[in-house]
């Protein structure tokens, strides 16, 4: 509890610095701990996200005609993103020895 108090005191003094340092730490941790295979999948995910955002911004700027094409393009990016995440889940559970990464995984079969 006291540790938290210290951190919140540190927070009050320099909040933005702390946020940036957290992000930096996250980035470092990510770079070191994830395997090459997962990094390739992550790069693919970022690319798909980028494509989806571009489509959405274009639609917002230019208008929704024809709605069919916008929907099909956008949903295909969303779908590919989701399927790639499922692939990543499978890969990471194979590569790691223990189910550390699987969040809130309930080991008993339901």
């Amino acid at each position: 509890m006291s540790k938290r108090g210290d951190t919140s005191a540190a927070l009050k003094s320099a909040p933005s610095e702390n946020l940036v340092s957290v992000l930096k730490k996250f980035y470092d941790e990510y770079m070191t701990s994830t395997s090459k295979r997962l990094k390739i999948v992550d790069a693919y995910l970022v690319y798909i996200l980028f494509t989806g955002v571009i489509q959405f911004v274009y639609c917002a700027l230019v208008g929704t005609f024809p709605f069919n094409s916008f929907l099909s393009g956008f949903i295909s990016t969303v779908g590919s993103f989701v399927l790639a995440v499922c692939l990543r889940l499978q890969l990471s559970s194979i590569s790691s020895d223990r189910v550390v990464w699987c969040f809130h995984y309930r080991p008993r079969s339901c």
Binding site: K3, R4, T7, L11, P15, N18, L19, V22, L23, K25, F26, E29, Y30, S33, F67, L71, S72, I75, V78, G79, V82, L83, V85, C86, L89, S93, V100, W101, C102, F103, H104, Y105, R106, S109, C110
Partner: protein
């Protein structure tokens, strides 16, 4: 396996009462439309069916059939028809349609078994399958001849739910994709798919709130949502609704929440607690601001359409009664009474809470789903009688779980034979004495319940739910059976004795039957999509002959058809529906002169005898129903013109018709057809 196949065969055979008593004929009103479209599909092919614009209904507006129906039922029948004909088993399309619903009820029995097996175990599955084979709530919409969307929709719904539970339990993409395909089948078959697309996200939300979210749920829901949404938009009737209407927004919201939850959990696994908290707080703040503003802008600019009337009335039951008389007038949309619950479900109403208790006892991801399904179905079944159908399967499943768990608990205590006494001593609990006797008593009690359930269901099916509505029967004084086949008599008279392009005006109930059997153009039918047009017909029926003649000339009407039950005592005739015609007729601008109060006596009663209001006694509907009725003796000891439904002698007896002439009256005066006279040759 034997028990299951017996249950499947039983579910098929118990729906055949009306075929055995009358003939293999399509029942009621809506099934006739489905039958006509299926016939069109088998004759013309899928492309012309999909692009069909029907100019024989809703004259002069027409109806885009391809874009306003759920094609699942028709396509299923057409597939069966073509498959049978491929093997040279030449069954007529009418018989395929009549027997489709019972066949799908057998499939439903099998799917229920599998579903309950996933939830609990095979024993509960068998009990649930046996129960759903005969439950009256489901039989009412799936007898042989009731060729309606619900016949296959319940099968699709249970299949989708079973595959959803399987994908939640395994977390594999394979089952999730199968679930999405089943969801597509469900969307193609019934408008009630909105229930599914809201229940599944609610389930995911409940799992998140109880801390049971895991990567299995993530995989299952994301795959089902993405693939399911794309597939559901392939049905023209659904169109772009999944991304635009409020009814689907919950699914989208939960999808976004899923992604965020998964991402947050991933980040949490990388960072320490304090750092994570900082990041979390800033993200949550940003996310909440963004999503709230997007939702506000979307609703304000109208991009996200509000709830439609039909579904809004489920949340606020008084909405339809006050604002939309058409929805309120359908008897299936009324709130359910207690007696309906018992009539349709009998013992299940008692075993349902027991099943809920056993589910709460052993909370798993799948059990949470069935609990939510049960509770929401109970609410919706209480709001609208028609939705009793959605409640029946979950009642069977939960009761199956309840019965099977009860029997399991007590059968452990049964003392079977002396030899096993040593081993059974371990399982027996020593909490109360006379375990053997109590256990035997409970087993007998449950068996007695199940037997009475069977008798009740069979009786209900035979008495209440097996009438085809288009053919009536009654007992004559000497005990013989009289068949009233007046409806088909009148429709076939129309078919053979009127010109091809004749237009028939009747109340919207009979529209589908007229187009399917008489093959003539009609003004309004059961689709009720255009309230103004129906209101115009209502104005014509409720006005005097001259005013009505103006409306009929405007709409090019050649023949008028009314249903009259006064001679036979048939109580669902047009005079009993007349007040609804008045209400709907007076609900639009051009009908403002029609006020409901004018048709009542000064004391506020609706009477057709001498005391009745003069507006009522001179309106078109009255004259058409009672023309020449004043000369007929209907019951011994009563004067002529005695109406056997309203139990009164009619007030306005000997009158002539100015603008109509009688074309045909059926044998028992049930259907009366009038021809609209042309204008005079010389101006008056």
């Amino acid at each position: 396996m034997l028990v299951l196949s017996i249950a499947a065969i039983l579910s098929f055979s118990t729906r055949l009462f009306s075929v055995l008593r009358f003939e293999s004929v399509i029942h009621e009103f809506d099934p006739y439309f489905n039958y006509r479209t299926t016939r069109y599909l088998t004759e013309e092919g899928f492309y012309s069916f999909h692009n069909w614009f029907d100019d024989r209904a809703w004259y002069p507006l027409g109806r885009i059939i391809g874009g306003t129906i759920y094609p699942g039922l028709m396509v299923t029948s057409a597939v069966f028809y073509h498959a049978l004909w491929f093997f040279n088993i030449t069954i007529d399309i009418r018989n395929v349609c009549v027997f489709l619903a019972p066949m799908f009820s057998s499939f439903t029995t099998l799917v229920t078994y599998w579903f309950t097996k996933e939830l609990k175990d095979a024993g509960a599955g068998l009990v649930a399958a046996a129960m759903i084979a005969i439950v009256p709530g489901y039989i009412s919409r799936s007898v042989a001849g009731s060729y309606d969307n619900e016949g296959i929709a319940i099968f699709c719904m249970l299949l989708t739910y079973a595959l959803w539970i399987k994908s939640v339990k395994t977390g594999s993409l394979f089952w999730s994709c199968l679930c999405a395909l089943a969801y597509f089948y469900m969307v193609s078959s019934w408008g009630g798919y909105v229930f599914l697309i809201n229940l599944i996200p609610l389930h995911v939300l409940a799992l998140m709130l109880t801390g049971r979210f895991s990567h299995r749920i993530y995989v299952a829901y994301s795959a089902v949502y993405c693939i399911g949404t794309i597939l559901s938009m392939q049905i023209s009737f659904v169109g772009f609704q999944p991304v635009q209407s409020s009814e689907h927004m919950a699914a989208l919201g939960v999808f976004g929440l899923c992604q965020m939850h998964a991402f947050i959990d991933y980040v949490r696994s990388k960072l320490s607690v304090e750092q994570f908290n900082i990041l979390f707080r800033s993200i949550v703040l940003m996310g909440a601001v963004v999503s709230l503003s997007v939702a506000a802008i979307g609703t304000a600019t109208g991009k996200i359409s509000p709830w439609t009337g039909r579904f809004y009335s489920l949340l606020d039951p008084s909405y339809a009664k006050n604002n939309i008389p058409i929805i309120a007038s359908v008897s299936e949309h009324q709130p359910t009474t207690w007696s309906s619950f018992y009539f349709d479900l009998q013992m299940l109403t008692i075993m349902f809470p027991a099943g809920l208790y056993f589910c709460f006892n052993r909370l798993t991801d799948a059990n949470i789903f069935i609990i939510m399904y049960g509770v929401t179905s109970i609410y919706f079944a209480g709001v609208m009688v028609r939705l009793m159908l959605v409640l029946a399967p979950v009642m069977c499943i939960l009761s199956g779980i309840g019965v099977s768990s009860t029997l399991n608990t007590y059968m452990k205590n049964l003392d079977v034979s002396r030899k096993d006494k040593k081993t059974s001593k371990k399982n027996v609990d020593h909490t109360y004495p006379f375990k053997n006797e109590v256990a035997t008593g409970v087993v007998f009690l449950v068996t007695a319940f199940l037997i009475t359930y069977t008798f009740h269901c069979t009786w209900v099916t035979s008495e209440a739910y097996s009438s085809p509505s288009i053919v009536l029967s009654a007992r004559a004084g000497d005990g013989g059976r009289i068949i009233f086949d007046d409806f088909r008599e009148a429709y076939y008279w129309l078919r053979h004795n009127t010109p091809e392009d004749a237009k028939v005006m009747s109340w919207w109930d009979y529209g589908y039957q007229i187009t399917a059997m008489a093959n003539r153009t009609i003004l309004v039918d059961n689709n009720t999509w255009n309230n103004t047009h129906i209101s115009r017909v209502g104005q014509a029926m409720a006005s005097t002959e001259d005013k009505a003649y103006e409306i009929m000339r405007e709409l090019d009407v050649n023949y008028v058809l009314v249903i009259f039950g006064g001679l036979t005592g048939y109580s669902s005739d047009d005079i009993n529906k007349f007040l609804w015609m008045v209400r709907i007729g007076g609900s639009t601008d051009r009908g403002a002169h029609i006020k409901e109060a004018d048709y009542y006596t000064p004391q506020g009663e609706f009477r057709i005898d001498k005391e009745g209001s003069p507006t009522l006694l001179n309106c078109l509907m009255y004259k058409m129903c009672y023309y020449r009725f004043g000369e007929v003796y209907t019951e011994g000891g009563k004067p002529t013109g005695y109406d056997r439904v309203r139990n009164a002698e009619i007030g306005n007896k000997n009158f002539d018709l100015d603008v109509l002439e009688e074309a045909y009256t059926t044998e028992h005066w049930l259907v009366r057809i009038y021809k609209v006279k042309d204008l005079d040759n010389r101006g008056a």
